[in-house]
Symmetry: C2
Subunit: 741 residues, 2 copies
């Protein structure tokens, strides 16, 4: 590696300065400071930004953003598009450019003429009880035409009626349990509670057993730490009031349902509705626990298993039908009337760009969705409030001419996320190539503050180092004088073979807009938020999630009074963005993937090794591949420190950074999981099993199970093993010295 | 575009020099000249290389390479691997590194114990006539154990026997013609001639009509300009002797048949043979026209159509069976005994690398296959002889320390191409990510000289400019004092809206090792050779193609006496490689794609417009996308000239070059043609129709035909239209200023 050894040599400081001046000169856009091609992150700028991120301004942003309901494609959603454009084109604090990108996407809404309803109906067809059709107007913000009534987006219209059964969380095993208890499910209405599995999956499972309609409610035991009385809940506490109903998308995939893999432009090919998959097969409607209590506590039949019991203050029974001594005649049925309709609507993303001074073709992306279910103060406006404060401060430095990033920074406000990450997915479909070739990393801050206890990060290994660096430098809110890092490690930690005890990152599923970036484009991604002390609450998520009670006052009074957690998230996000955009060497530590691969490998050996051996499938090639990756990553690390010690020239740095940036891409294989829409990342595709290991291999093994040795299923296991081996070998090859194969 | 305007300004020559010295310093590998990061192609070096490329050394290379038969995976093939390694590691003329990469691939061979045979058999089972089992040993080189007997690789074993029919070229329409003539094809043996369609397709079509076995021969009318007598053919002329038989692969796809999309490493997952598709369904055997004449001229039945007649000196009849007044009893049948077997064999690629001084992570690839059917003097050794001469000269300059390229150059000798581009395909599968991210272009020189008339180039539009530049600077061999370019334009030309009359490039199919690079990786590729004056011969290809008569003497006496055409190809290849490796700005003119897109669009409007309108499918989005591409490409061209006029810094150049290099990648869509293995390039996938236009759209239209408006087929037409629109929009986006979306 002569060319590596050569690097340190013979460049005097003066010459470097000269080089800096010369190169810097080229890179001067309008009203910008002189930036040299070898300039590193400016710690003073970082300090300035950290200091200027203002909690009270975040609070004012949130007040404005959550002032009115802004459901995707509503007039208020469109007004917020204009607000973002105005902020990002402000002469004093705007960015270099800002633009709205509109798509025509398929959304689902309840009918205004025929409200969805859930009634208990007597044998004569007389209505004995009607569930609420909207939430109680407790603070004056739960009324009005812009508050969309509770509904299950993409659930089909229909008016099934039948005996009620209780199906726990609507998991496959819940329905089999009911069957084994001898309950006929055909034609019944299944009452289920949120949790366990995704929303849409409950209806999918129910339909398999002949269930005609599904109800979903939030049990106080799952969301309110058991509390359910009006005086114990919002507006008297942060807990969900009895009438609160979680809305949500029941679509099983993400992206616009009619244009998979294609941007939803007006002229794009659209699937015929009959060919669309992933919608709930039967009518489904969510209700509040106030109504769920009436239904559930009157149920007949045998006692539900202990694990199925909740906090409604009665014994949960399985049904079918109602208890003779209850409020309703034994033969009363439940009628579920769903009148949702699908509609093609315009939804926009807003992109704001700060042009990089030295490497404008390298993009650091920071995004959040804009659309909410109702006022959406926490979800998503707490994230957008932070995003707007950071873009204001960076924009101001930019307009003053005191700073310009080395690389381009793109701020994104995504549309229609609540319906299935639609805006962000269409964006990745439209700009697939250039994003994949040029994006350094994607930072997602959706709900920025669930609670005030600790930072919580989901991300792929290369982003660990930059988040750690940021978190160590920022003071944690709340008592004590800990850094965000030192506070974080108390709540989430793991023992790393390399570093010892470190905060643990969660892995990225499909819960927010990072999904298309990591799974479809293979871009290193992360999602950060402040969240709960799990020793203090067992709430599945913050109690007013997706309800009309998620308002500014709710955040201001209960979630983050003083907005210090919002500020902490803003500082963390700001520091991460600046480190990614301005560091001479990209702060993506690819060797941190070695930890993950090692643990995936060990898990595979422990969980699958024996079974695979029985079918004479050896994990040796996988062991070798992991070792090759570890060696290549370590060698690259050593090469990088050599470069850093010396005085690298800009092209040397660019070449190394390209290796770091593109590593995540090497794990993509669009042919690995043809049935999993958008999932191409061989390490992070959905896993059916609970063990954290190579998903393709693990899923194939569980499918193969005890099929005969020669089966197609066992061939698929071998194919999946080869796919991950080839991906790891390719990753190692990408990290090796660039003139080697 | 402030950052563009800023570029030219204020960099003094002195400062540029300083910059050059500084940056150059870093880039000094061992024993190399000082190369600055902004140095451009050195015309003196180019002149030196052009001057040193030595025809007599190419001749000596060819003599050595074609001395013995070197069928893929044979001992001589392995010996040539060693020869290449030795040449490329030579202390005085070698490269920086050279390595062999071995794969375990599925090949097909005839049995040595049971030779394949074709006999005429009487009703009593008595053999009345036997076709030759090997070619006549006319020059002493057609005998011996290393000369593989003629066979159809991958044709299944079997011994079908039946009445003979003549099926012309074995096209679908040829068999329907026989049917309409009332001929029962069930159980027959079909005699077909080479040409019209691919080898494997003849057996595929035949099997559909119940044919039991297929014979394939080369008609003197198709290969010998009608000549067929011994004194008219080799060794008395370049024409094919009567006993000559074209061998070849009858596999319909490319790459190792058992490991699609995976490198054929020993541990890789392999398909079960029962799941392999693309092999001929019925026994097939090629024969010489000497034997074909005996069979064909004795056929019974009605006269074949005029277009089916050939130059065997008799009326071609259709059969079935033989003519009563002929050499065989009327009820005689033909027995085809095929004893081919499949075998896993080791086959190696050899890669030789010259490390780039400034951008080692940018690869210029130049390759050819090494394996032949017999001696393979023309195919492929004429290309390898050129490759070795160029690598010797560049290696010598390298070892002397007088030159090192800006970018890395990789020389490749592929294995097992004759069986289906196997070595090159496995290479692209193993190094998919890094090749796709870093490869500037791929140059293929397989058969370097078919004949001495003119240069012939196949390639994608971005390579046109670099080939033109090279061809204009090199003197054409033969009479007159024309440049290769001026000679070329006399044989192949087109009128370009931009340039007027220019030499025309052919498009890249799957005829040689460029296929996986352009279709699977989306790397700009080209294939060059010297070829025929079509006014002087109608030969389908050079007459001894894939026979035992393709020997050194054949080339030396008939194909290129004096090797001046070999030298011309070497100079063209050398100039192209140096321009790609050493030019400061990549000589890939992306705006030359505008011509192609325009003509594709016009063809689509003319051929498909009306039909599409009937189904209310508008081509407007496609028109807009083409216009966007044209505008972006033109703007990028203007930006590039601004940069070139000024004194660009290395990063500015790198960013622009990345746009040029990656453009071809933006046309890839791995989900566009799921049924077409490896074909992901939306502009160059196989077309069923004859019009040069967007293949996905055209194919979908012809499939949809007159199916009902709402049909799946018409939905696919719309999907294909959207796929190409999105690809063009993405390409335009990649060419736009890098900080814009």
């Amino acid at each position: 590696m002569q060319w590596v050894k050569g690097l340190g040599l013979g460049l005097g400081a003066a010459a470097l300065l000269a080089l800096g001046i010369i190169l810097g000169h080229f890179a001067i856009p309008q009203n910008s400071p002189s930036i040299s091609a070898t300039q590193d992150l400016d710690l003073e700028i970082l300090e300035t930004v950290m200091g200027q991120l203002d909690a009270s301004r975040i609070r004012e942003n949130l007040r404005e953003l959550s002032r009115e309901p802004h459901l995707a494609s509503s007039s208020r959603d469109e007004a917020l598009v204009q607000l973002l454009l105005q902020r990002w084109t402000d002469p004093a604090s705007g960015l270099d450019s800002a633009e709205a990108f509109e798509y025509e996407v398929l959304l689902s809404f309840p009918s205004q003429e025929q409200p969805n309803s859930v009634d208990v109906v007597g044998s004569a067809g007389d209505v004995l009880y009607s569930c609420r059709r909207s939430e109680e107007n407790l603070t004056g913000e739960q009324g009005g035409p812009d508050v969309v009534p509770p509904y299950a987006a993409y659930a089909p219209p229909g008016t099934p009626q039948g005996l009620l059964v209780y199906a726990n969380q609507g998991r496959e095993e819940d329905f089999t349990e009911l069957q084994t208890q001898g309950i006929t499910l055909e034609g019944t209405i299944a009452l289920t509670r949120y949790g366990g599995i995704g929303r849409g999956a409950k209806a999918v499972n129910a339909a398999k057993y002949g269930v005609a309609g599904v109800l979903v409610y939030t049990d106080p035991g799952d969301i309110n730490d058991g509390l359910s009385l009006p005086n114990e809940t919002f507006p008297n506490s942060w807990y969900l009031p009895p009438s609160g109903v979680e809305r949500g998308s029941y679509y099983e995939y993400f992206g616009d349902p009619l244009t998979p893999y294609l941007p939803a432009n007006p002229s794009s090919f659209r699937l015929d509705l009959t060919n669309v998959s992933g919608f709930p097969p039967i009518p489904t409607q969510p209700i509040g626990f106030q109504d769920a209590k009436v239904l559930l506590c009157n149920l007949n039949g045998s006692l539900a298993p202990a694990a199925w019991q909740g906090a409604l203050g009665c014994d949960y029974r399985l049904g079918p039908g109602f208890h003779p001594e209850g409020d309703f005649p034994e033969d009363s049925q439940v009628n579920v009337s769903v009148h949702n309709h699908l509609q093609l609507r315009n939804s926009s993303n807003v992109l704001g760009i700060i042009r990089g001074a030295v490497e404008p073709d390298r993009y650091v992306l920071y995004g959040n969705h804009r659309d909410s279910w109702v006022h959406g103060a926490v979800d998503p406006s707490s994230g957008t409030a932070v995003l707007l404060e950071l873009s204001r401060i960076l924009g101001t430095l930019l307009k003053k001419g005191t700073w310009r990033p080395r690389r381009s920074i793109m701020f994104a406000s995504w549309g229609a996320e609540e319906f299935g990450l639609i805006g962000s997915t269409e964006f990745t479909e439209e700009f697939f190539s250039k994003l994949q070739e040029r994006t350094v990393a994607y930072l997602n801050v959706d709900i920025s503050v669930f609670a005030n206890a600790t930072l919580r990060v989901q991300g792929t290994p290369p982003v660990q180092s930059v988040i750690f660096s940021a978190a160590k430098e920022i003071r944690s809110p709340g008592p004590g004088d800990l850094s965000i890092y030192d506070n974080w490690i108390r709540y989430f930690n793991r023992s790393s073979p390399v570093y010892g005890l470190v905060p643990s990152l969660g892995s990225l599923g499909a819960g927010s807009d990072y999904a298309p970036f990591i799974h479809f484009l293979g871009i290193s991604s992360m999602d950060i938020a402040y969240t709960y002390d799990r020793s203090k609450t067992s709430a599945r998520i913050y109690p007013t999630y997706h309800t009309a009670f998620d308002t500014f006052d709710y955040v201001d009074k209960f979630v983050d009074p003083g907005f210090s957690s919002h500020q902490a998230v803003a500082r963390t996000a700001g520091s991460v963005i600046l480190r990614l955009s301005d560091s001479l060497f990209l702060p993506l530590n690819v060797s941190d993937y070695s930890d993950t691969l090692r643990s995936f490998l060990q898990a595979a050996q422990q969980d699958l090794g024996a079974l695979l051996e029985q079918h004479s499938i050896s994990l040796e090639p996988l062991v070798t591949a992991v070792e090759k990756f570890e060696a290549a990553a370590a060698a690259l690390g050593r090469y990088m420190s050599t470069l850093q010690k010396g005085s690298p020239d800009p092209l040397q740095v660019r070449m190394l950074n390209d290796q770091l940036m593109l590593l995540e891409r090497t794990f993509l294989n669009p042919r690995a999981f043809p049935e999993e829409r958008y999932y191409s990342h061989v390490l992070w595709a959905p896993r059916t099993g609970s063990t954290a290991t190579f998903p393709g291999l693990a899923n194939a093994c569980s499918r193969a199970g005890d099929t005969s040795p020669g089966s197609e299923a066992w061939a698929e296991v071998q194919r999946q093993l080869s796919i991950v081996v080839v991906a790891l070998e390719g990753a190692a090859a990408t990290l090796r010295p660039v003139a080697d194969l």
